[in-house]
Symmetry: C3
Subunit: 469 residues, 3 copies
């Protein structure tokens, strides 16, 4: 009976819907790129020739490409391999984790180049792009990958593409408000990427609450090798996070400092995560979920302040605290959120991105407010916070206040936006899986050996999804 | 009976043949390197001291190392992890995929440094090498990795080393004809690497046709985790492809632009691949083979034009089209090639490298022919296409014609060369496996647990190779 | 009976000990960083503003960040993914391999920044750090990862953290003696990292000898997919080794040359490894252990000389020889060391780091002694070996002698230090596993599906650790 209901209730066959959405949106991208997107002078033949003839030109090394491309590639790896593999821990959702992350990120970066371009590099009717645009697009999509972590296993690829469209739009609006209107610093995106992405995703997953997920309890766990695949994601995120937080900082000392601070914060985070994982688990054994996720919280939490004069020991303290907050969150808060608030957070993004993102925003506000000429130098302070033009009269305590406002705005747009987008995704024709088919690749993927029994080396007689019958 | 025949027919014991070939060739490399290979001035103590004393020297950052080393490392990852893991999708050939790719690439880069050095950086009896030589060698070996994809699982390591020797040689001749005689642009190698590599490999595999591969049908498929390993390869190829296509472009805007165009093309390619995979598979489910391969076609197809003023939307169009062409190729063309033309293309390199490579050559020819002073500027046009010295009178339409000729030459040398090399590999003493032992690591590798039964968690009572009895 | 004994004999519950050590040491790091660690001028707002006003400033590209950050990231990947995954070959110790490597490295880099800082960049009571400090810290931890390979599977995380504390300390002392007192060149660490790390670890494991490891023979082997995970580690180590050996060389030609020499050495090493693996194994089959490890020996062995004028063919010869030495070591020496000298070297670090490290030290001494003005130029020779100040009268043959002394010192400190640290680790309250529980994740990790039977798809009824009962 249950089976029949679910088959009648929803149709997960993507044959026409998924191709339609993909093709429609890609054609839209092509048209919009055709109208709007051109190379900026650093990437343009004629433009660069003009740069070369300027007086202060010292060589091709002046091209922004050489300042940012290595960091861009590291960020790129974080988005596609980092987030993609991090989410492969589920035993039967590896294809979906890596594959859908790939799909939504590939679409998202195109739409982000347009949205961010309109807001930031729109000149004489054209969006001028360069390597910094690619990093910005990857950053924006990072927030979508975070939200994906909250709804992982419970939505269809069509829903994901729709969510991506809206989230990238909202991200860009929020980012514009923060960076341009509030003149806030957030180079590593504690507010714009992590806080926004996490609370947006959590709101969406709350709206899409499913009351019958206990039936998939087995599939919500990992198997031995899926945990190792997940560690590939964890480690590439962890290793490249210094590049993430320094990628769009100012040339010179700012990039350098952001990388060092992030390196320190992440190192401390590993130790406090291990300590609390062992302390809170039975028999003192370590829990892979904590190692895979909470070790990264230190990178999130210095996202705003890493390029400031946070100092290495300040970074250690933040990383140390966030490892604890995040691990404790996994043990106590995630079950609470699910049972009491009906927030089913598959990957625990609240612990990895939500709380550390908020902490990062607060740390950024404090670090900005505490900035002084005695540490930065007069010229350095102006340069570091860009207190020029209309902002030349801003003080560091003003700046701290605006930074704090940035947290509130990000949170607000995430919650309202997530509620609206969640509502849209609830519409019944997007092909989301039934409760008992959640966390199951077979619904949307050809899974090898599914015709035969016993593929996953375990007694999964109940694991075969309904759609196959 | 069948067993006895196969045992009598071929001997896959590599004990003396493989060591002999490896040692012989490595000793040859050492001797030839000793005679010919020296550092270029950027990598030489005395040479760089001389550079430092030149008038226009601005700092150590002028060293080509800093312009190209990050891209080189990305390319290096593509060759060894990218191609290596991409081919691990087969359930019983992971060791062979990663391990033989490692072997042939490690040999190939040495031989390529010599061959390309003789053609391009031979001065006063010495080959002068630098970071660009390392990239060139990796590129050359990339074409061998492609050809390896066509014959994957059906040849012995000795055959692979012989194929590598010949293919690197032919690659270098073809590259010399294109770059030096035809004065063609092909920075990302649509013609020299992809078209040449794919059609060379396809011709070899056609010559080595095996009529009894149905018996290994199971082993030609994947298992769940082998598909995830393969995605590691896919993603590193996809992410680093912008570095591949920009690695040897001119300093400054050309490297910058090539990276952006490739990024755009690849993003679009993912969406059209997903659309057509879902459209063409039963019940609209996605096929991992398409996601693993066709998503990369966009990088291949802008290999020639990425450094030109292709524009971002032009790149989107090309990526979009190639995702479709490649996916359709996997569904309809590969079975046709196997049944009608006896081309057994294990990895579907025709879809990923063959057709997109040809498209890339054509796109390059059109983009070159369409180049104009109004877009490039007078000076820019000369610089971009190197219309200097003997080529100073060449027009862009001439250039388009020469580019087209380059496609034909690459194709011709690939087909003729592949036929000859395929004929050589057919000689009966290279230790290739019997038909029923194809796609089976156990033939050339110590496989853990093979003494015990049931390792691969499936009923593989028929999977044990003959050589063990 | 046996079970009871082992339970009584040792308590592997880490609940209080592991958290205590982690928290204690992290708090110590925070305090020491607070007192001592500051940014160097390249990473400091005010400091860099001062640099900008200097006469010879040409642009932000002068910042050391741009010379070294890409190499740093490659080294970072080697330490965390490279070493971590290389050790996942054991069938039931993947979590421990990746996870404990993560833990010890994250702690080690913090302590190394302090130790190396006190010795090398201590100015007016402060340690000034920059990107080179991060590389140095990663290098130092590399030696701990090597030692971890020797004791893999046989120690508790508490023991590892204690070993890391001592080893980083001893490493820094040894490095100071070599680089500062003996004025030795060792940019890629053949002596300081590999020789020291390997012989330190081997001494520790000899002290911790376990007489009953035969009972875990199964678990000391690999399974099919664990070997593929291990290849991820191998390949990232192999690919990024040119960055490792060039990361802290002088700007310009030295970094460039070190990368090329390492690339050549590693390529040759693959061929001789394959040759000897096939030659020495039954039926000429390749052994994954050799491919995973011996192929890397070439990188170790040019660690000292890569930045010198070793020449590409010299590098080929060294790589070629070391592939042979290392493979033969795995086949003949490792069993001998275990049975005769009671050195249980889990990962065979003697073959990958010990012998090649010694060879690398010797090659460095010879290359230095053979350096001449005719090759380096007068100015170049002084620059390359830093024959300035108190060393301005040193000859190249002197230098060769000091290099040789460096090997002896490294070996001596490793052996004595390893013996002492091994003795400390033998204390009975650090929670090391019983012999039959070695190489088993379940002791220190929550392993998925361990409640159910049959997870690993094999008959492992005897594999369940005692602690679960």
């Amino acid at each position: 009976l249950d089976r029949r209901t679910s088959v009648m209730g929803r149709n997960t066959d993507m044959r026409w819907r998924l191709p339609l959405v993909c093709l429609l949106w890609e054609v839209a991208m092509i048209i919009l790129f055709g109208i709007f997107v051109r190379f900026n002078p650093d990437a343009d033949v004629a433009g660069w020739q003009k740069e070369r003839h300027k007086q202060n030109f010292t060589g091709d090394m002046d091209n922004d490409f050489y300042f940012r491309y290595p960091s861009f590639q590291d960020v790129h790896v974080m988005i596609f391999v980092g987030f993609g593999f991090l989410m492969t821990f589920l035993q039967r959702y590896g294809f979906g984790a890596v594959g859908f992350n790939f799909l939504l990120a590939a679409f998202g970066i195109q739409w982000a180049i347009l949205m961010q371009g309109w807001f930031h590099t729109f000149e004489q009717g054209k969006i001028l792009i360069g390597v910094e645009s690619l990093i910005g697009a990857d950053f924006c999509v990072g927030s979508v990958c975070i939200a994906f972590g909250a709804v992982l296993g419970k939505v269809s690829p069509v829903q994901l593409l729709i969510m991506t469209l809206f989230q990238v739009t909202l991200f860009s609006v929020n980012e514009y408000i923060l960076l341009n209107l509030l003149h806030v610093k957030d180079a590593g995106g504690s507010m714009t990427i992590h806080t926004f992405g996490a609370y947006f995703g959590l709101t969406v997953t709350a709206i899409l609450y499913r009351s019958n997920l206990e039936s998939t309890k087995d599939k919500q766990g990992s198997v031995y090798h899926s945990d190792l695949f997940s560690m590939i994601g964890t480690l590439f995120l962890w290793m490249y996070w210094p590049s993430f937080n320094s990628a769009i900082s100012d040339h010179g000392d700012a990039q350098h400092r952001a990388a060092i601070n992030t390196y320190c914060s992440l190192a401390a985070c590993v130790l406090s995560t291990v300590a609390f994982s062992s302390m809170l688990e039975k028999k003192g054994k370590l829990n892979m979920v904590h190692i895979q996720n909470a070790t990264l919280a230190g990178g999130v939490a210095v996202g705003t302040a890493a390029e400031m004069m946070l100092t290495p020991y300040g970074s250690l303290i933040i990383g140390f605290v966030c490892g604890i907050v995040s691990t404790v969150g996994f043990v106590y808060l995630t079950p609470f959120l699910e049972s009491k608030l009906h927030i089913q957070d598959t990957c625990g993004v609240h612990n990895l991105h939500g709380m550390p993102g908020l902490i990062g925003g607060i740390v950024g506000a404090i670090t900005a407010a505490a900035a002084s000429e005695s540490v930065y130098g007069k010229e350095g302070l102006i340069h570091a916070f860009d207190f020029t033009g209309p902002y030349s009269s801003r003080t560091t305590s003003d700046q701290g206040g605006f930074q704090a406002a940035g947290i509130a705005v990000s949170l607000g747009i995430a919650l309202v936006g997530g509620a609206i987008v969640g509502g849209i995704l609830k519409l019944p024709f997007f092909g989301d899986p039934t409760d008992e088919n959640c966390f199951e690749d077979n619904v949307y993927w050809e899974v090898p050996g599914d015709e035969e029994s016993n593929l996953y080396c375990m007694n999964d007689s109940n694991a075969k999804p309904v759609t196959d019958h």
